[in-house]
């Protein structure tokens, strides 16, 4: 057969594509369960980081079971529990719905000291792509205990700094509501937050748009959790 002819070329290309496609499809299918497990472990690790617990990957599942275990659930806009598994909520889909139709996952962490922290899941948009994270709140429903954020593709050294501990640690002790109970959220202030301001953290030089995205993300998601947080606050007085 003429190896430079058209029909040979077509046959060669067809066989090659079929072989490669079969191989890759097979590999992808057989590794899928392991990959899904890894993603879940990474998510649990993020959740733990928001209550300032840092453990190596192989201990994440045990610690998660200890501290949170089954006490995760979904609430709706009015703060009532609804059916479903918090870990299975697809935030990417949720943020496209209007606030009163959204599912809001909550993870209840019981720390070694016996304190209960409520972990909220947030998602929004940065400069180049999505941002997401977890914010843990004390049982007064307003004071932030810890936070962790990550991003898909913010600029390294600039916007990507939101994934840094030093940035995230600033959130500890900040307040979501003001003294009169109004939702204020946390502002990310360019040039540095004023001393003692419990509703602001320092921004990142060169990462202004990412910081604005983060600010919007927090405000929007806290709006959704508002009723839930107020319920916690009320319960803590009882």
């Amino acid at each position: 057969m003429n190896k430079q002819g058209n029909s040979y070329t077509f046959i060669f290309a067809t066989i090659m594509v079929v072989v490669v496609a079969t191989l890759l499809a097979f590999v992808s299918q057989s590794l899928k369960p392991r990959q899904d497990r890894n993603v879940l472990v990474a998510q649990k690790s993020d959740i733990l980081q928001s209550v300032n617990i840092f453990v190596p990957t192989d201990e994440v599942e045990d610690v998660y079971d200890d501290i949170i275990g089954e006490s995760s659930y979904i609430v709706n806009f009015s703060g009532e529990r609804v059916e479903g598994e918090a870990l299975e909520v697809n935030m990417q889909r949720e943020v496209r719905k209007s606030l009163d139709e959204r599912n809001f996952p909550v993870y209840e962490a019981t720390l070694e000291s016996g304190e209960i922290k409520y972990i909220l899941q947030v998602r929004g948009n940065g400069l180049w792509g999505p941002l997401w994270g977890y914010v843990s709140v004390n049982d007064d429903g307003t004071t932030i205990y810890g936070a962790t954020f990550d991003h898909a593709g913010e600029t390294p050294g600039l916007g990507a700094e939101i994934a840094n501990r030093s940035f995230q640690d600033q959130f500890s002790g900040k307040k979501i509501f003001d003294d009169s109970g109004e939702l204020v959220s946390i502002a990310v202030v360019k040039g540095g937050a004023p001393e003692g301001d419990s509703h602001a953290v320092d921004g990142i030089s060169g990462g202004t748009i990412t910081a604005e995205g983060l600010e919007d993300m927090l405000l929007n998601n806290f709006k959704g959790y508002e009723q839930f947080l107020k319920n916690i606050e009320r319960n803590s007085h009882e």
């Binding site: 190896k3 430079q4 070329t9 290309a13 590794l31 990959q35 993603v39």
Partner: protein
Amino acid sequence: MSNDKEPLFSAKNLKLITTPLGKHNPITIQVLGVCSALAVTAKLEPAIVLAISVVFVMLFANLTISLLRDTIPSRIRIIVQLVVIASLVILVDEILEAFAYDVSRQLSVFVGLIITNCIIMGRLEAFALANKPWPSILDGVGNAAGYGVILIIVGFVRELFGSGTLSLPGVGTFQVVPEQFYSMGYENNGFMILPPMALIVVGIIIWIQRSKDKSLIESN
């Protein structure tokens, strides 16, 4: 064909492995594949993982192309090479995601970018298409190792001086610079973990290599 078989590691074959490590190093001499060398070397661990991945991709890409070299229609040979490289890279990516998730998150797009690493396609086109499988494997391993060695050296220097630690795949991160140094006023050089320092470290390696082997210096 002659009857006496060439030994597997004859002097000629060994040269295929050793020259890319030194005299024909893809990064320091041919200056190929530099962008990934800059991007993943802030820590040692991803540098090692990427080096191993490239060795894997290159070995099997060279082998496959060499085995198929008499059947590939020359008009679509570049596409065939690309398909072979791309599927191997996807394979590596899937395996990393399943077995080394943390590292695969760190390497993010750079595993996928192995596809565009000019060293690989260069070797397929220049060597594997015209040579038997065994020399092709050696050539592939040699070139990938030459690339990997530089990656690892740069990663080592940058992590040691930038973070004071060294990280190894599967083992974890070690504090190398002792605590006393810090209390005596030593500080990590934060500049080291930024991409420009990778370029400077590669530059220094090139400088050292050329001052040792004068034949590498171009005459102007």
